[in-house]
Every structure is written in structure tokens, then in C-alpha cells.
């Protein structure tokens, strides 16, 4: 296969709480993501899946391990050049679309902030054109750029969060539980949108979630996390049809099946 877009090697993330207590959130996790694929990361709360996402995008300072992204090392001290590359090419979509959008900023400015910082346009007009196109792409209208986050519904806000990530034309998007705060009917809309965008732009996703049926639906490969360790990884097919690790098996057995007859016979 071709070269991985992201290579995480033995990532360790500890948080020192006090002199004699350290939370060992992630203990030596390694995986790779290839261009254009979707890697699903599943596990219970407290298994470290969100921490891994945040360490990769450098919201945290990894304790140990190496992260290679787009052929550059992005763990350890970042040079200005690498930092700019990282911030442009890796974006994140957060879980709660209300708390991740600045309530005092207009939608247009929220989406345009990255463009402003990286100077990705030459005229004001061009900036507004890019933002307008982006809004249309996620199913909103260019006129929405003048509105504030509170004027939108949850599903629409998550579309704004996606537009903000996409406007930078990133190679990797980290989607941290980006649909779990939404209603079922809206979840399907957002997942369809994410798939369309992937088909169009060829970006890769790190899809972090606890909803296994959705992870199965969207991912090419899956990693199963348990207490900060990657206990099993493989293609979606392998994980779901032939889970090896007892933890993966118990996780799969716990997923409720939307079929009353089958569900009743399982227990």
C-alpha cells in the first residue's frame, strides 16, 4: 500500500494530577491512517479515545511516542513551518456543536478564521466567496454567514463545525463523537454529508465514537481501545465478523440490535 498519511507510534499520554498521582490515559498506542480512508476508534468512556485524538492534533503535549503526519514529525517541539502545516492539514470536529462555536462570532467569521490566519485569500470578496461555497457544500445557504450560532438548530450547527474543518482543505479530519449529540434522523444526514465530502475531496477521517453500528457503517478500519491500550485493530470486516479479543467480543455483544425477536433471544 502507499505511504500512511498519519503514523502514530507508541503514543503515551499521561496527565500528572498531583505529586503522587498520574492519570495514565494512553499507554503506547500505535496505528496508521492512509490517505482517503476512515479509521474508526471505539471504546468505552475513559478508554482514551478522545485523548488520542487531542494528542494527535496537539491539543495535548504527548508524554512519549512519535507521530508522523504528512511525512513531518509532529510530536515533540514544533517548528513554525511544521506547525503551520499541521494546523492547515489537520482539522477537528467536536462533539458538542454548541460549545465548540463561539457564540459572539458570526458563522462566516467562525468558518473564515482559519483562512484569515493562513492568508488563504487575496481579496475580501474571495474570502466571502470561499465561505459561501463552503456553506452551500454542507447544505446551508451563503446568507447564513451573517447569522450567529444560537440561530441554528443542533444539526445545522454541526454542519457549521464541519464547514469550519473543511474550509482549510485538510488531509485529515478528526471527528470526535461528532454525531452523538444529534438526533437519529439528523445523524444520518451528517454521516451522509461526511461520506460525500470524503468522496469529493479524498480527505481521511479519524472517526472517534462509541456507537458501534455507526462506526461500522462509516469506517474502513477500526481500532478498539480499552483502558488506554489498543487491544485489537483490523479492517471493519475482520473486527465485526471475527473479533479476537474478549473485550471486543463483549463490546459487540452489548450493542442492542434493532430487532425485537433477535434481541429477546440473545438474553
Amino acid at each position: 500500500m502507499n505511504e500512511p498519511l498519519l503514523k502514530v507510534d507508541n503514543l503515551v499520554q499521561h496527565f500528572k494530577v498531583s505529586r503522587n498521582f498520574t492519570v495514565k490515559a494512553v499507554n503506547g498506542v500505535s496505528f496508521e491512517i492512509f490517505p482517503g480512508e476512515t479509521y474508526g476508534l471505539v471504546g468505552e468512556s475513559g478508554s482514551g479515545k478522545t485523548t488520542i485524538g487531542r494528542s494527535i492534533i496537539r491539543l495535548y503535549e504527548p508524554t512519549a511516542g512519535e507521530i508522523i503526519f504528512n511525512r513531518d514529525k509532529i510530536s515533540g517541539t514544533l517548528t513554525d513551518k511544521v506547525r503551520r502545516m499541521l494546523r492547515k492539514n489537520m482539522q477537528m470536529i467536536f462533539q458538542d456543536p454548541m460549545s465548540s462555536l463561539n457564540p459572539r462570532k458570526k458563522i462566516g467569521d467562525i468558518i473564515g478564521e482559519g483562512l484569515d490566519i493562513h492568508g488563504l485569500y487575496s481579496t475580501r470578496k474571495e474570502r466571502n466567496r470561499i465561505i459561501g461555497e463552503m456553506l452551500e457544500k454542507v447544505g446551508l445557504s451563503p446568507a447564513h454567514a451573517e447569522r450567529y450560532p444560537h440561530q441554528f438548530s443542533g444539526g445545522q450547527r454541526q454542519r457549521v463545525g464541519i464547514a469550519r474543518a473543511l474550509v482549510m482543505k485538510p488531509k485529515l479530519i478528526i471527528a470526535d463523537e461528532c454525531i452523538s449529540a444529534l438526533d437519529v434522523s439528523i445523524q444520518a444526514q451528517v454521516v451522509n454529508l461526511m461520506k460525500d465530502i470524503q468522496a469529493e475531496t479524498g480527505c481521511a477521517y479519524l472517526f472517534i465514537a462509541h456507537d458501534l453500528s455507526m462506526v461500522k457503517y462509516i469506517s474502513d478500519r477500526i481500532g478498539v481501545l480499552h483502558l488506554g491500550n489498543l487491544v485489537e485493530t483490523g479492517t471493519t470486516q475482520e473486527i465485526f465478523s471475527n473479533p479476537q479479543h474478549p473485550y471486543t467480543q463483549s463490546l459487540l455483544a452489548a450493542v442492542p440490535i434493532p430487532n425485537p425477536r433477535v434481541e429477546r433471544h440473545r438474553h
Binding site: V184, A188, N192, H210, P260
Partner: protein
């Protein structure tokens, strides 16, 4: 079968700064004793409000315009809506109808030991000595599967995990031996493995104590697991009602179709998920005709003008959609849904 609870023509509005919100627009349902009823729908569809009305927990800005909620107690039937809040609290809440909520952290008092939280309602409703109450609390904690109950009653909520907290909430709800347990998204905040255990617990308690249970949820997997009967709510109305088999294997309302197919099962490998376009209506403005029409790909002209009545499909199965009218054109189910229903029937050995 005797109905322990019967809600008739419930209609509720909320006064808000923006105007009146017509949250519940005529809801009817019965709960047969000892059975489990699931209310399904998106946020804002009115499922929680309906249940809060039953438990007498509506906020002060709510007005009940019409309706009756009959509860069959030990000897007589009472209309809960005719009781004052005070009477409800003294005679019904806790002892006959108890409710558990989504987030166990916010329904427990962080400054109180869990033992005290469990016994609080007992002291309120029963003549019981402190030592009796304590041993009953320990018994309840054991019943809900908390080890080391004798020590645990001294714990504060923050010392427990999410699953344990929800168990404590269930113990509190059961402390005065209610007949009806209302569960408002009890497992949404929990992991799948913990969710499975809590659902097991609720079902086990139901069998042992003969509880009647109402489940509010949007997770159809949970519904399939626990429910006997299902009511699908949309925009303050019940749009489809039936037994759990009827809803999962033979759904008739386009909204139920959408809900079923929007949630992938483990076999889904379609390129796109079937999704319901748009978002639920704002009930600040009274919907014209069928509230679902704007999102319904099968909507007909009549949907925009006249609200569909409930059409009866079988003795237990009802749906409010004009598609069931004898004059309506026959519609083909969306391909994905047809495949999915076939899969579901096959898995269940139905033909």
C-alpha cells in the same frame, strides 16, 4: 388485560418569551399492567413532556388545556390531573409512580450520602424507623446489584461510577415500591456494556416486582430489547402505535420508516443512509395539516391541508398517515428500507 394507566387526549402548551408552544397536541395511550411501553421520537417530539405530565413534574409555565390521565390504584381509578400538586406528592409520586432520568449525576444530590438519598422518600411516605430505613436501603442497593452495600450507603455520588450512580437512582425510585416506573432515557449517558447491564436490571426488577414500565428513548435497539408496545411521537402527537413486532417488521408511517432506516444496523452497507430531510417543526407556530408533511417524500396535497386521523391496521396497530386512506396511491417502500425489513424478518425467522 387491565390498564394501569390511561392517558386520554392530553394537550399541553408552554408559555415562553417567544410565545405559546403547543408541545403536546392530543396524546392518547394505555399502559397494560406489568407491560413495557416505549415512547420513541426525536428531541422536541414531546415524549418527555408527556411523561412529566403523568408524574406531575411539569414546569410552572406549562398549561394543560385538556385531557385525562387515569391511574388505576389498588382499589379505585383516579384522574391524576384533578389532583393538586400537593395531593400528587403525598399520594401518588414515589409510592405509585416513580421516574428515573437520563443523567444520574444531575438527579443525585452531590452533598448527600446515597443512603440518606434512598431513605429520604421512605421517611416522607411511610412510618418507618431509622434503623428499618437503613436496612431497607441496604436491601435496595443489593437488589440493584451494588456490592458492599453496607459500606456504600456512606458514599457520595462522586465516589461512584456512572453505571453505579444510575443503579442508585433506580434504588431511590424503587424505595417506596411504585407500581409504574418511568425511565426517561436511562441509558443514553452510559456506555454500551453498562447500558446492557442496566437494561437487564430494569427487566429483572420488572419481572420480580411486577412493575409496569414506560421507556422514553430514541434508541431503537433499546426499544427492541425492552418494549412490548411502542408509540412513535412526532411534533407532539403519536403518529404510529403498535406492538414492538408490528413497529419493527411492518411499520406504516413514513416517519417510522425514516427512524428505522436512519439508524444503521450491523448489516447496513448501503452507500448512503436513508435520512429524513430537514428538521422537526417549531411548535411555536401551529403546523398546518400533517406536521410531518414538509419532511415526507411521500407527502400528498391533502397532507398540507388536513391532519391525518389514526388509521387502524390491526387490533393493536395504528398509524396517522394519509397513505393508509383507501383512496391513497400505493407507495413503494424505499429500497434500503425494504432490504432492511426483509433482513430483519429473516433474522427473526418470519416470512
Amino acid at each position: 388485560m387491565e390498564n394501569i394507566l390511561s392517558v386520554q387526549n392530553l394537550d399541553i402548551t408552554f408559555r415562553t418569551n417567544a410565545g405559546k408552544v403547543h408541545a403536546i397536541r392530543g396524546v392518547d395511550f394505555d399502559l397494560p399492567a406489568g407491560k413495557t411501553l416505549a415512547l420513541v421520537g426525536e428531541s422536541g417530539s414531546g415524549k418527555s413532556v408527556t411523561m412529566k405530565a403523568v408524574a406531575g413534574l411539569l414546569d410552572d409555565n406549562a398549561t394543560i388545556n385538556s385531557g385525562k390521565i387515569f391511574y388505576r390504584g389498588d382499589d379505585k381509578v383516579v384522574d391524576l390531573l384533578t389532583l393538586s400538586k400537593r395531593e400528587l406528592r403525598r399520594t401518588i409520586n414515589g409510592q405509585h409512580i416513580a421516574m428515573i432520568f437520563q443523567d444520574p449525576m444531575t438527579s443525585l444530590d452531590p452533598t448527600m450520602q446515597i443512603g440518606a438519598q434512598i431513605t429520604e422518600a421512605m421517611f416522607l411516605h411511610k412510618k418507618i424507623s431509622a434503623s428499618e430505613a437503613k436496612s431497607r436501603a441496604i436491601e435496595l442497593l443489593k437488589l440493584v446489584g451494588i456490592n458492599d452495600a453496607e459500606k456504600r450507603i456512606k458514599n457520595y455520588p462522586h465516589q461512584l461510577s456512572g453505571g453505579q450512580r444510575q443503579r442508585v437512582v433506580i434504588a431511590i425510585a424503587l424505595s417506596c415500591e411504585p407500581r409504574i416506573l418511568i425511565c426517561d432515557e436511562p441509558t443514553t449517558a452510559l456506555d454500551v456494556t453498562i447500558q446492557a447491564r442496566i437494561l437487564d436490571l430494569i427487566q429483572d426488577l420488572q419481572a420480580r416486582l411486577g412493575l409496569s414500565v414506560i421507556f422514553i428513548t430514541h434508541d431503537l435497539g433499546v426499544v427492541a430489547r425492552v418494549a412490548d408496545f411502542v408509540k412513535v411521537m412526532y411534533a407532539g402527537k403519536i403518529v404510529e402505535a403498535g406492538t414492538v413486532d408490528e413497529i419493527f417488521f411492518d411499520p406504516r408511517h413514513p416517519y417510522t420508516w425514516g427512524l428505522l432506516s436512519a439508524m444503521p444496523d450491523l448489516e447496513t452497507n448501503d452507500d448512503r443512509l436513508y435520512s429524513i430531510p430537514g428538521s422537526p417543526p417549531n411548535l411555536l407556530h401551529e403546523p398546518q395539516g400533517d406536521a410531518f408533511a414538509a419532511r415526507n417524500q411521500f407527502a400528498m396535497k391533502i397532507d398540507e391541508r388536513v391532519e391525518p386521523p389514526m388509521f387502524q391496521i390491526s387490533e393493536t396497530h395504528f398509524a396517522a398517515t394519509w397513505l393508509l386512506h383507501p383512496d391513497a396511491p400505493k407507495v413503494e417502500l424505499p429500497e434500503q428500507l425494504r432490504a432492511r425489513l426483509a433482513r430483519a424478518r429473516k433474522a427473526a425467522n418470519l416470512t
